[in-house]
Amino acid sequence: MTAAANKNIPYDVEKARRDFPIFCEPVNGKQLIYLDNAATTQKPQVVLDALMHFYTRECANIHRGVHYLSERATESYETSRAKITRLINAASPNEIIFVRGSTEAINLVAQTYGKMFVGSGDEVLISAMEHHSNIVPWQILCEEKGARLRVTPMNDAGEFVFEQYERMLGPRTRLVAITGVSNALGTVNPVSEIIKLAHDRGVPVLVDGAQMIQHMPVDVRALDCDFFAFSGHKMYGPTGIGVLYAKERLLEKMPPYQGGGDMITSVTFEKTIYNKLPYKFEAGTPNVAGAIGLGAAVDYLQSVGLENISAHEQELLACGTLALQALDDVRIIGTAKEKTSVISFVLEGVHPHDIGTILDKHGIAIRTGHHCAQPVMEFYGIPATARASLGMYNTKEDIEALLWGLRKVREVFR
């Protein structure tokens, strides 16, 4: 079923919750209130079943054996690649590289495309709200090449400042690497405009889609991004599997990332001929089960409809934001006009860590800390925030529980 076909069916969150076994039983003696979806999401039964099915019925290595099981496993693995191709509307499955997650996808680009096309005196442009995984790989590359990492600023609301970007996108910029959605603030960036301007100036763009893919429909061809990275575990799929999308034209030019089995056509001690796409970038036995599980997650998301999920989450975001804004001692960090369902906040007089511990005692899981975005914390002059990030199965009751939990925090620190 396509997402569009679902538009008119009202979204039933209670039904969705029943798809996730973790909500059907107490966790640590309590009904789980899970508000840490930006870190990782829970897994629906269909994803768990796909993993179980692979290991119990289809387990074999892929692209290697002539035997029945190997063929079955190969087919399932490639079917997943096809599902992802359709999910993000890539032009071809050759453009879908299975990796461990967003982090590996970005490192792959830095170490292949970056190594080849970024030289001494060149610049890589990122934003002030990047996750460490879209900072450090570029720092490593720039250090190696004598290139410069430049950072476009954000405003007090945590929004991308387009005019500054326009100014910083210079003749030495070789690549723009930008997060689609900030994990610490929830800010949705104007990636389409960012890409358009970069392309006008001949600069390719990598979009870190780790916090985007689970919240909205993504069409890489409409966006025209050159690279798009995301993680399976944040989109209701398994851990240890993720995707790098890249335009075929670029992948053809890029040197391989790792050497080993499967990424070659022939090897002699004198010369190795690399395999065709996408296998050139998938050295060694990949996470076959993970890829199959991710395929099941894609099916699941499409059956529910990303538009439905997005509408539901936006309603929760509005409701949670309103409720937290009403509290005198709470300050929401990240107030962009366009946000996904992430609410970062600080509570006067109480360190986020203490909030986290007390909420946890009441069965409410949030994230506290710098969210792998220390520059963002520095920008706001705070060491850390408490972050509630909502997913497709969260409810208004979960938000009420959070508010109730914050009252308990105050009781302790009264």
Partner: protein
């Protein structure tokens, strides 16, 4: 709400009170020895990247005795209170006594054996025994202590670690 049960059906506030004891909350709100010692001859900085806690410990060491000790920084209630109470407990102690106290404190907050360190012998610091039940918070409780030990281990000339 009843005295023990939370709305969600489990004894809660009593557990939390084991961690957030009154003494701890008091030291969090009004940390003692919370200032720089301008002419400290020992100093170190501690950082817990997980929660962003940062603190500096200053020690005036004379003839092997902690004449004065203080701290500044930001942190959660547990780390701030721990730093505050540490400075109170170490003033006047010898260098080796301070290091011994580090070991004992560490044991107190991590020990899961049947014979936890004699809490009574820990004096006021015994209020931190509740941390044991919160493994992720052990680093908060011990940050100041690690920093103190690093400060003591410094040679006199290398005080400025910045």
């Amino acid at each position: 709400m009843g005295p023990q049960k939370g709305k969600r059906g489990v004894p809660l506030m009593s557990d939390l009170r084991d961690l957030y004891q009154e003494v701890i909350l008091d030291h969090h709100k009004k940390p003692r020895n919370f200032h720089k010692i301008e002419h400290a001859n020992r100093r170190a900085e501690g950082y817990n990247p997980l929660c962003g806690d940062k603190l500096s410990v200053y020690i005036q060491l004379e003839n092997g005795i902690v004449k004065d000790i203080s701290f500044v920084g930001t942190g959660c209630a547990i780390s701030t209170a721990s730093a505050s109470m540490m400075t109170e407990s170490l003033k006047g102690k010898s260098e080796s006594e301070a290091k011994e106290a580090f070991e004992k404190f560490h044991q107190l907050v991590t020990n899961h054996s049947d014979s936890p360190p004699d809490a009574a012998a820990m004096g006021k610091l015994a209020v931190f025994s509740g941390v044991r039940e919160y493994p992720v918070r052990v680093k908060c409780a011990t940050l100041a202590w690690h920093t103190m030990r690093a400060a003591l281990d410094q040679s006199q000339g290398a005080v400025a670690t910045e």
